[in-house]
Amino acid sequence: MNRSAPRSIDQYLRQLREELAGADSALIQDALYDAEEYLRAEVAAHPDKSESDVLELIASTYGAPDEVASAYRDTEVKVKAAMATPRKESKSPLGRFFGVFLDPRAYTSLFFMLLALATGIIYFVLAVTGLSLSAGLSVLIIGVPFFLMFMAVCRVVSLAEGRLIEAMTGVRMPRRPVYQGKALGFWARIGEMLKDPRTWTTIAYFILMLPIGILYFVIAVTGLSVSLSLIALPIAGVLAQAGWFGMGGVEVFSTAQPEWAFHTGFGIPLLGLAGVLLLTALMHLARGIGRLHAMFAKSMLVARTASNPAEAAEPKAALAAH
């Protein structure tokens, strides 16, 4: 690809982002972070040279943006292939239906659904407290530092939520925070934060996590308790029949009432079977919800891949700010 060699860190990062266009947004965030760490360290290591002089040599040391982009793509593919546990995909529909029990993602997704209530409450409290206190304190001098602190906490929590989601659902999420490298003034930085749509989608995600978490929790708990108790029914029936347990004198399954056995003799195994089917369906549902939720979280917490148009239009202004 023929283009002018980058002359500033911002230009380099923009070209790298263009080269990675179409790649996973989380991968792009990591690649930009790594490049920024290197480039800033390189510039700092050569205080006698200007930024553009340092950048001139970057292609032969760090690599041109297209080389670096392809390195990230290649490594990502290799790591994904190496880390993915090969699953034996059963061909028969029945095998595929019950195969969900062998998929660790289904269990972790179910656990994530249970956990979502707790995290949802924490995120909701964080977002509502932070927003209302920021608004309330904005008339006072401590309003601004408080808002900045709130933003910093939001970024850390959003990264942590991303790591949790990747661990639970296997969907790639950022491994590095977003780094705002531009040396902007104090007020300009706050303005950038307020203008950045990601700030608001992150807060919206935190607030939405409470109702979503409640929903996931209810689905998981209801599904588990209903299906497991249905499965337990025939087992309890057999044990009670054998006289191994009763319920405080109440005869749970009495052979003394022949009509009971008649009505439920077939019913009990059928209910047990229904429990197994329900549990399997729940596992499928959990895995599906896990994937959907990861997509939702990615759209809310990870920056859009398109570069900021204002930044692209005024590279000189960004350069001058250094």
């Binding site: 790594d34 480039l39 800033r40 700092a44 760090y62 080389e67 990230y72 490594t75 880390m83 590095r176």
Partner: protein
């Protein structure tokens, strides 16, 4: 063979070697190292020019870390974003020992053909 062919051959060779070299560098080092520091060590060991493009070591570092061969911690930095310092794990040392044997075997095998003509 023009320059781009040479670079392509070098790149293909580097595929698995970057991971081996990174593990070896971190195993040698007494202290934790971050990406830029590792890149500069590699470059200084080869008269200032690294065989690898330094940008290619970062994704490999993350891949090794994801495979539990390295652990890492984050330290704030004055010059840029917080740095991630890496340290080799016991598992990493085990893998390094295996990879070294594989590399020695490969090198001996290749040498048997490429060095023969010189001896004759």
């Amino acid at each position: 063979m023009d320059d781009s062919d040479e670079r392509k051959f070098q790149k293909e060779l580097n595929g698995g070697l970057v991971g081996l070299v990174l593990l070896a560098v971190l195993a040698e080092s007494d202290e934790d190292l971050y990406g830029y520091e590792i890149a500069k060590r590699l470059a200084s060991a080869n008269d200032g020019t690294s065989i690898f493009k330094e940008g290619t070591i970062y994704p490999v570092l993350r891949a090794l870390s994801a495979g539990n061969l390295l652990t890492s911690r984050i330290v704030p930095s004055y010059s840029g974003p917080p740095r991630r310092y890496y340290r080799i794990t016991e598992q990493g040392r085990g893998v390094l020992a295996e990879w070294k044997l594989i590399w020695q075997g490969t090198r001996n095998f290749v040498d048997r053909f490429t060095e023969q003509k010189i001896q004759e």
